[in-house]
């Protein structure tokens, strides 16, 4: 009898509670588009913020809510992920060119002699807030690896031989975290290019030619030879510095051999034929 009373009373309390909760859940229900969850499922889940939204869930919400997929791209997942997203949502995702982080400093230990010794915090941002750095170049890489620390994909590492960061093209998702972390703005997202082939000026020194050259043997001196050589108007010289527009560059590689300091790097190309100028072959081997 005692047991029966206990079972019945508890059962009644339970039933009342259940009814109340059911009513409350109906009354206060917040509708969430189930597609947000589905989209989030296919996203990489790195929460890196490369898309410009706060994490993957923010991006998923944005994808579902917006009418078109213009400007919405997950660089980490790339075309494959975006294709999945567009199937879920039934919107055309458009194709974004794959990008990759490129380190625009070639001032390795041999090319850029040290003029002083830094003994403060091993952090590029801190060093940059203090002074121009251990070498005569006030634009070049510090080599303390703020970019390495910030990378969520293990795609960038400091090469102990050169003291410069190197990007692993296969691992790099072009999320842009390293671009933001670098106090010197050395890293740039550039078009990955067919077979990862790229031509770029590996220097951002805006000093006058003589000053830049004195600080670093591999510096761009702004002589403009490359710009003259370029048949596609892809190279501009501004503030003593050449810049190759990756949207205009056709990867003809004519600019690299004429560079007197070897500041133009070409990556993942097959070796040049014999007729190429000697200085060029020397530089071709220097990949990032």
């Amino acid at each position: 009898m005692m047991i029966l009373i206990a079972v019945i009373s508890l059962g009644v309390i339970g039933a009342v509670g259940a009814l109340f909760l059911y009513a409350a859940s109906k009354k206060f229900e917040v509708y969430e588009d189930p597609r947000i969850g589905q989209v989030q499922e296919v996203l990489p889940g790195a929460n890196c913020g490369a898309c410009g939204y706060p994490g993957c869930s923010g991006f998923a919400t944005a994808c579902v809510k917006s009418d078109t997929m213009d400007g919405l791209n997950c660089p980490v997942g790339g075309a494959a992920t975006m294709a999945q997203v567009s199937t879920i949502l039934g919107k055309d995702a458009g194709t974004a060119e794959p990008m990759v982080a490129v380190v625009r400093c070639n001032g390795n230990c041999d090319a850029r002699p040290k003029t002083n010794r830094y003994d403060g915090a091993r952090n590029c941002s801190v060093a940059s807030s203090l002074y121009m750095g251990e070498t005569g170049c006030s634009y070049g890489c510090f080599g303390f690896g703020d970019c390495v620390t910030v990378c969520a994909f293990d795609a960038i590492h400091i090469n102990p031989q050169t003291g410069l960061p190197e990007v692993d093209d296969d691992k790099c998702t072009s999320c842009g975290l390293c671009v933001k972390a670098c106090p010197r703005k050395i890293i740039e997202l550039r078009k990955k290019g067919p077979k990862s082939r790229r031509v770029f000026v590996s220097c951002i020194n805006k000093d006058k030619g003589g000053v830049a050259r004195k600080a670093c043997a591999n510096a761009c001196i702004g002589c403009g030879k490359c710009a003259k050589e370029c048949a596609f108007d892809a190279i501009t010289i501004e503030n003593n510095l050449a810049y190759i527009d990756y949207n205009k560059c056709r990867l003809c590689r004519k600019c690299a051999p004429v560079c007197p300091t070897g500041a133009i790097l070409e990556t993942n190309f097959p070796p040049r034929k014999e007729k190429a100028v000697e200085t060029a072959t020397e530089n071709t081997n220097k990949t990032e």
């Binding site: 003029t115 403060g120 952090n123 801190v126 807030s129 121009m132 006030s138 000053v211």
Partner: protein, 443 residues
Amino acid sequence: MLKTFRIGGIHPPENKLSAGKKITPLAPPEQVIIPLSQHIGAPAAAVVKKGDPVRVGSLVGKANGFVSANIHSSVSGKVSKIDDALDASGYRRPAIFIDVEGDEWEESIDRTETFVREKAVTAEQIIQRITEAGIVGLGGATFPTQVKLTPPPGSKAEILIINAAECEPYLTADHTLMLEKGEEVLTGTSLLMKAIHVTKAVIGIENNKKDAISHLQRLAANYKGIEVMALKTQYPQGGEKQLIDSIIRRQVKSGALPISVGAVVQNVGTAFAVYEAVMKNKPLIERIVTVTGKAVTNASNFRVRIGTPIQKLIDAAGGLPEGTGKIIGGGPMMGKALISTDVPVAKGSSGVLILSEEEARRKPMMDCIRCAKCVNVCPMGINPTTLMTATEFTNWELAEKNHITDCIECGSCTYTCPANRPLLDYIRLGKGKVMGIIRSRKA
């Protein structure tokens, strides 16, 4: 009981090696490098070009904006170029290079050493002269003086405080100045009082300069409204907000200016520069620089033309000793290591400190042990370890909430940290970032 500020503070070894050394004037070098950015605010705009002849006191850079200052040639000769030059900031910035020929001064300048006590000038004229002469705070912050003397509408100055604490170890430039140019300093103080319409001024001096205190006290008897006050030797006694707290027992609120408590603070070197500008019509073209260090053979105080490479000063002090580890521009607490001896003396250069390898060595950084020593010594009552961590992890909201912008960068936290953590290095970075964020929010 000597007066002092109520929060934090440390007492590092004083090492005032050059105390009591007379001011030695240094001959102009063969070439001076005059940076266009010697003050806080917008760099001055060059008004000379290559090949222009200049005389001592000629205007070469014009103030470019409200918070900016004029710059004058410190030598006579010819402008050889306008180019980037490495300065004490550690970066290459625009500067005027002048090749020295002869020593011709602008005619308006009174070059004599005779002391001028009285001159009929109005407050406006004083401020105008200060603006023309390009005077900036000579304590090290180099804030244009005329800006500080024109309080924002609605606020009124009640008291002038002259900062003669010279709390930085090693430095003796202000000390020597007070001993040798006491009358001039007091006259400069009277002029500043007149400029801001106050009847009371206090000169605060740390108690480790007893000779300067008694000397100025004796002279001040002839000056109306000026009091000389001995303060406890405690770093950073010369911090603007600390000095106000020490002397008038008022605390400046977070983010507020000293004028909010009715105080205007000027450095003693600035007072002297004001005297020279108003009474002698002489722009700010030279300053007193202490060259010191335990291994320096002749640690002294030099009167140096602005733009002189510090190599000249080091030579005059007996050359660079062997085993030099670091050359610091300024004092050991707030100064900054220089990466070349070609760096020129600027308006804010109070000293050149030469440390041996042993003294300069930084001990390896260890993990924070949560001892809170940095919190105890922080004179601004903020939490350095939290601020460092916030900066390390780029958590700017946390940094702002913990008042990172109140940091005066005195370095007491780093000095006291038993785990050798570079607290200030990070906080300075974070402060800059947070200030940028605040500015962009207002814009």
